[in-house]
């Protein structure tokens, strides 16, 4: 059975307009799936629907099973219970995901205490481990720092450490590197890549950036105007795009790649 199974998901706004329209996909344990789409494609709404975090005013129909829990119809309590240990989410701007009034260490401590019942020395060492795992050197100083005292890359590492602290079986990453510099982006992508590989965590990676998706995902679903227009292994989709929109996406990315390649040859 899939860890996450989405069937005919439709998200409507108050006017009844479908922002996500009949979207179906599945992520099996240990899988790496990508949702690729540009602004307005509905990719972020899909992620929010999957975690049961849709903003008020939007309603979802269809079927979402997260580890067997019905994320559309199950009571709030059950859905919350499914979120922590099963699926964790990392957002584009870590500043909005982190509590500005709490040190990084305490933020990571929250889920560890709640879900694993860790206290005292065991909790402290678990926090240290979590920070070391996201390759934050100087973990002690960082644990004592507030979010605004950290750089964008450090914040995103803390957010990832928080998301992974409870060993979820699925990590949902919504444009986690879009706000970062290229060199930092490369580091974070490496980190995500390595962490999901060593732990066997499944990954649902959401991005507008095809080359970034190619870097970390295996299966891909291309979204446009709320609908999936093409699905398949990402290597095949890039090599042989079938839908005209996917072709435009691939061509656009290739344009800049080719320009860079040319500089190497001159």
């Amino acid at each position: 059975m899939s860890l996450l199974a989405v069937e005919g998901l439709t998200v409507r706004d108050q006017a009844g307009r479908a922002l996500v329209d009949d979207v179906s996909f599945a992520v099996a344990a240990g899988d790496r799936a990508g949702l690729i789409g540009e602004s307005g494609s509905g990719k972020s709404l899909t992620a929010l629907a999957v975690t049961g975090l849709l903003p008020p005013g939007l309603s979802a129909t269809g079927d979402i099973r997260l580890d067997g829990v019905d994320m559309i119809r199950a009571p709030e309590k059950q859905r919350t219970a499914a979120r922590g240990p099963v699926a964790a989410i990392v957002f584009q701007e870590p500043l909005t995901a982190l509590d500005p009034l709490m040190t990084a260490g305490r933020q990571i401590a929250g889920p560890l205490r709640r879900l694993h019942g860790l206290r005292g020395a065991a909790l402290r060492s678990a926090i240290g481990e979590a920070l070391a795992e996201v390759r934050l050197t100087d973990a002690e100083r960082i644990a004592r720092s507030y979010p605004h005292e950290l750089s964008g890359g450090q914040r995103q590492r803390v957010a990832i450490a928080m998301a992974l602290a409870c060993r979820p079986r699925l990590l949902i990453a919504d444009e986690p590197t879009t706000a970062l510099d290229v060199t930092v982006q490369a580091e974070i992508l490496d980190l995500l890549d390595r962490l999901v590989a060593t732990r066997g965590t499944a990954l649902l990676f959401i991005t507008h950036d095809l080359p970034v998706a190619a870097r970390v995902t295996r299966d891909t679903h291309v979204l446009r105007d709320g609908r999936i227009v093409e699905s398949g292994p990402i290597a095949d989709v890039i090599a042989r795009p079938e839908h005209p929109y996917t072709r435009t996406l691939v061509d656009s990315a290739r344009r800049f790649d080719a320009a860079l390649e040319r500089t190497g040859r001159d």
Partner: protein, 248 residues
């Protein structure tokens, strides 16, 4: 050799009582040769751009315009020749003004005669319908807003366009279209571009000359084919390796 349109001559900048943001930066933009300024956040790109726009004075060195020092008295001529486009198309258009008024602003401010025909021509040049002029910014998407911002920049026929990350806030497919637009403006109107960007693909596509800025210093500059094709500085190499690319 042709006189550069603008040049930075051993420019340095430091906040009062603070550390230096820019140190010993020399850069020239000759007509017809697009220059890229590459670097990451905190490298001093934005500060250098503000100096080049005449919004802030350098604390060391000088900015030159067509060979002479950029003084207060030459500012109007300078602004007629040098215009700018910014990164965030949602912040660069006043939400309370109609597009026609936004695009005409440089004409009014620089005493160039704000005829509606000029505004219409600028909108047409960036591929927007003429009825755009009567509408408000919120009616447009990010890519369309960036076109409007470009129309405002070129409405007075400047020689040089300073473009500060003009496509990094845009979707990939929109990015291609805006880069194409900038390229065609250079070809058709004899416009030169100084592009500030961290996107090396865009740089390679648009610019003949590339300068790499790290921690307020230029670590490498030269023809783009050389800087990006055979980088000599380790930071440039790291930037190049970090660019995500599609598998071949």
């Amino acid at each position: 050799m042709t006189e550069p349109i603008i040049s930075a001559d051993r420019v340095g900048y430091a906040y009062r009582g603070g550390a230096a943001v820019l140190t010993d930066v020399s850069l020239a933009v000759p007509p017809g040769r697009n220059v890229a300024l590459v670097g990451e956040s905190g490298a001093g790109k934005t500060t250098l751009l503000r100096l080049l726009l005449g919004l802030t004075r350098p604390t060391e060195g000088a900015i030159r315009f067509e060979g002479g020092l950029l003084t207060r008295g030459r500012l109007r001529d300078y602004r007629r020749a040098v215009q700018a486009v910014f990164q965030d198309p949602y912040s660069s258009l006043d939400p309370r003004h109609r597009i026609g008024r936004i695009v005409a602003e440089p004409l009014r401010g620089l005493g160039l005669g704000a005829e509606p025909a000029k505004v219409a021509a600028a909108l047409e040049a960036v591929g927007l319908p003429t009825d755009t002029a009567g509408r408000y910014p919120h009616e447009f998407s990010g890519g369309q807003r960036q076109r409007i911002a470009i129309a405002r920049a070129i409405v007075g026929n400047p020689r040089l366009l300073l473009a500060d990350e003009p496509v990094s806030a845009l979707d990939l497919t929109t990015r291609v279209r805006i880069v194409d637009l900038l390229g065609s403006l250079c070809a058709d109107r004899g416009l030169t571009i100084l592009l500030v960007s961290h996107d090396l693909g865009v740089v390679a596509e648009l610019c003949e000359h590339t300068a790499v800025l790290e921690h307020g210093r230029l670590v490498e500059q030269g023809p783009t084919s050389q800087v990006l094709g055979a980088p000599s500085h380790p930071y440039t190499r790291r930037l190049l390796e970090s660019v995500p690319r599609l598998p071949a």
